[in-house]
Amino acid sequence: MTAFGKGRGCLTAVPRPPPPPPPPSSPSNSRAARGRGRRPRRRIGGRGGGWGGAGGWRHRRREIEAAGRRQQQQQERLRGQHERLWALLVLGGGALLPRPSGLHRDPAPAAHQSAEPSFRQGALLGQDPEVDSRKIDQEGKIPDETLEKLKSLGLFGMQVPEEYGGLGLSNTMYARLAEVIGLDASIAVTLAAHQSIGLKGIILAGSKEQKARYLPRLASGEHVAAFCLTEPASGSDAASIRTRATLSADKSHYVLNGSKVWITNGGLANVFTVFAKTEVVDSDGSVKDKITAFIVERDFGGVTNGKPEDKMGIRGSNTCEVHFENTRVPVENVLGEVGGGFKVAVNILNSGRFSMGSMVAGMLKKLIEMTAEYACTRKQFNRNLSEFGLIQEKFALMAQKAYVMESMAYLTAAMLDAPGFPDCSIEAAMVKVFSSEGAWTCVSEALQILGSSGYARDYPYERLLRDSRILLIFEGTNEILRMYIALTGLQHAGRILTARVKELKRGNVTTIMETVGQRLRDSLGRTVDLGLTGKLGVVHPSLVDGAHKLEENVYYFGRSVETLLLRFGKTIVEEQLVLKRVANVLINLYGMTAVLSRASRSIRLGLRDQDHEVLLANIFCSEAYHQNLFTLSQLDKHSPENLDDMVKKVSQQILEKRAYICTHPLDRTS
């Protein structure tokens, strides 16, 4: 958690010393468990590779194979590049970029750019016979030949290490590919359920034998994976999981009973990651029910699934109930430790989220193209729609959201790719929240531009709207993720602040005087300078405004957090309205960080259209700054003043009566 804390120096503001050269072995157990340590990086397609273009699928497949052959040599080159970039960015003050080599490094720029047009247009407009999103949506099924092609491209094993037959992509590369895959939501969800959560457990927690046994066939797409956690009575509440696994008498296998709901790929999958309660003998001898993760094959018997759910969006993906009835699971198929399923589930879910940012950004970029086309051709009052301010504003909004979520997604991916970098689950959650909400707003605004044709089924826009609604719900609803973001952040801040708060409470005169003095200085107006700008600053001078705003927000946010912890202590867990605000500020801060670093990098590298990026970055920073100021001012108030009290009262009254309370406006007493 970098963009959090008391302000002073907690943000990655102070130039970070270069990390020690990657140690020969993985630095920590968790890294090792995730298999994300020093994975050999690899580029798809290589330079001038023909992803798509005229070549089509077969050609792309060849390219991937070619990429495999070139892998060794590229790895060498890449490592060299790391060093160069590192030096460049540290000298240029690149500390804000958490990992200079990782951020926004495009694995194979040329290849993807040439591949995209055909895939995109095909997917969205339904012209490409290979991926007909409209047909997928209408028939509620991805055609088998499309799936076969996806498999032949290796897209079912994007993050599976190469020794198990996958592509072994880094997170950055995965994010880059997700941008293209995201053009058809059904395919994206099917693939994500397969590899972001379905088989991720095997990669993260599986033993060597398990990996060798399952991953090759999963990577090739011969087997599809599904993630079975949700139950009728258990959403995020792990304690109420009813599925049970009992050890057989000979201790050779578990007998699994129970049913799971809302399982994506439930009907297609052959391999399931199932979470069930097992009896575990504690260290003190007491028997407890604990969650254990299992790898369950359909062939184990007793696995049935219900009919696919009829959904609002992502209709091509297969979602159904899965039932396990006396399924015999060998002991070797326990994923991780017995009783350690909770951690496995948490790790899988936390690691799968970051790719949504680039996925949505890819979709938005295409959407902007299409709506811009419409706005520039449709005439009203002898003027194009594009000449009206209210329409122009919507394009700026869409571009800004796409820019921010893209920056956030690739920053997070880069941080995940960096060797030895700590857990990025908060950042991933922030990316997910921001991008899902951005998707919903932007698609809605696009529909506004399109008018009635946006509402018609003949056009793809209404499908995009339906598809994007699920983003706010799955992989942890945004509400729950906000709680996660805020609470995990506060936990971190709390540890730092504990000593100080304790002294304040005890009435230590020096600390109190310090605090009072600090507050006095603040009230007299203070310029916060955390060192982002200036001579050795990491932010380019044209972004100084945004950087100052970020610094100020970070500083005052730290102060607010301190006040909140003082005011609520542990009970802040129950103050969800407060936590929501904390999370909102955090998301904005992270977005500002990502945007500033990306725009600075673009300027320094001399990328094309950097001035446009600067504009977007400044717009976002300014908007986010004002939002943050407002939110912080609310956080500093007590509940009667920031309306929380009233809001709660209203909802309590409504929920007590379970109805809208007010009388009809036409009602009268006489």
Binding site: S236, D237, L349, Y484, L487, V501, K502, R567, V573
Partner: protein, 432 residues
């Protein structure tokens, strides 16, 4: 206005003036204003209402009021079909106005009609009240000058108008624009009926919805329906389910009071159910009652199943399991919490009570009936079979009962401890 009417009004005014002067001099309150001399278009009247505060002397020879009363009574004779409904009432009023073009004796008629309204079931009908007010001649009783309005102008008529409004008020009928317009035409703006109307319009709106727990106007007659209404009225949780454990016998014989055959209706919410399931079987639970609940003019008696509050040292602190929420931490690992200075509930006096597990309304308040309720509850609450139930019934319902209902009262309770033991034994016998 016709010339003749003006003359008549002038005469009436002068007499009214005299009357008011005398009232003012005697200092008697308004309701005791001595009767006025006959005047203008007002017809004579006699004791229209025996308990009315306004008891006018018969201004005419005593023979005529009796006759007039008889005439008015006749109008309200039951119609051929014998039905007493709005149509017949309206017809009677219309007959009066048609029969009596000069509206002679209209004050008496209005008083009479007011008394008759309940019989005809129109006491809540605004249009009927407006019809009654419409009987008053218009423009006649309006004050013409400042002295009229200072001193009570046509007091008997104004009293009558007030009586109409008062009956409306008693039945909760809100006057409308038509009422206001009629009063304006009859008595003018500066008159007592108008004042009454304005006050009604002010306060009615404030009091109409003052009860946050409204009771329907017409209560069900069936005791089971009434009981379930009462239970739902008391239970705040909307997911609570009303169960009828026993239906009363349909016959109206006195045997219906037999405790084996009265109705038993209970309510229990899912939360109460789970609280009962968690209850420590070592601690007894109590059936207490009867307590009274008034629903408009009806009283319902209920019993509760409750437990004592756990002593603070035995209360379990709810633990947050470590691996509970997949998505976010349910508790923070911080070294500090709110201290006593931050205790926002410090000054709030709250009396904690033990949990209530269920409520029931039964036709009889004895132990046999209530034991049946407990048996019925056991079907949905298996835990109840293991928990000792103690009946703590107060002897009477707290209401003065007519002597005939003494039969249904339970026998006077034995000393408390003994009863507890008794009932515990009985309960255990019942379970075994």
């Amino acid at each position: 206005m016709s010339w003749a009417q003006a003359i008549l009004l002038a005469r009436g005014a002068s007499r009214g003036w005299g009357g008011i002067c005398s009232t003012a001099l005697t200092g008697a309150p308004f309701s005791q204003v001595p009767p006025q001399a006959p005047r203008g278009l007002r017809c004579s009247a006699a004791a229209h209402n025996p308990d009315s505060s306004l008891v006018p002397h018969p201004p005419e020879p005593p023979r005529r009021p009796v006759k007039a009363l008889a005439v008015h009574e006749e109008l309200f004779r039951p119609a051929l079909d014998g039905a007493r409904n709005k149509a017949n009432f309206v017809r009677a009023v219309q007959n009066f106005t048609e029969y009596n073009v000069h509206k002679r004796g209209h004050v008496d008629f209005i008083y009479l009609a007011l008394r008759k309204m309940r019989e005809y079931g129109v006491e809540r009908d605004l249009s009927v009240y407006n019809l009654l007010l419409d009987i008053f001649p218009k423009e006649v009783f309006r004050p013409r000058n400042i002295f009229h309005s200072i001193f009570l102008h046509y007091p008997r008529q104004q009293e009558c108008g007030i009586a109409v409004l008062e009956q409306m008020e008693n039945h909760g009928v809100m006057p409308n624009k038509e009422t206001e317009f009629l009063l304006l035409q009859i008595f003018g703006r500066k008159s007592y009926p108008m004042l009454k109307l304005v006050r009604m319009k002010l306060w009615f709106t404030r009091f109409k919805n003052i009860n946050p727990f409204p009771v329907p106007r017409d209560l069900p007659q069936d005791p089971v329906d009434l009981a379930s209404l009462a239970l739902q009225h008391m239970e705040p949780d909307l997911s609570a389910r009303v169960t009828t454990y026993q239906m009363p016998l349909l016959k109206d014989s006195p045997d219906a009071m037999d405790p084996t055959e009265t109705h038993i209706v209970g309510i229990q919410s899912p939360e109460q159910q789970s609280a009962l399931a968690r209850h420590d079987p070592a601690r007894p639970i109590f059936v207490e009652g009867p307590f009274s609940l008034w629903l408009r003019d009806k009283c319902v008696y209920y019993h509760i199943l409750r437990a004592d509050l756990l002593p603070p040292e035995e209360r379990e602190v709810e633990e947050i399991p470590e691996e509970w929420n997949i998505y976010y931490p349910m508790q923070l690992d911080l070294a500090y919490g709110r201290s006593s200075w931050d205790d926002y509930e410090f000054n709030i006096d709250e009396v904690e009570e033990g949990p209530v597990f269920a409520i029931c309304v039964a036709g009889a308040h004895d132990q046999a009936t209530l034991a049946k309720w407990i048996q019925g509850l056991q079907e949905t609450n298996p835990a109840l079979a293991r928990i000792p139930v103690v009946f703590r019934l107060s002897g009477s319902s707290g209401e003065l009962l007519p002597s005939s209902s003494e039969l249904e009262e339970p026998p006077p309770p034995p000393p408390e401890g003994q009863e507890e033991e008794d009932s515990q034994q009985r309960q255990q016998q019942g379970q075994s």
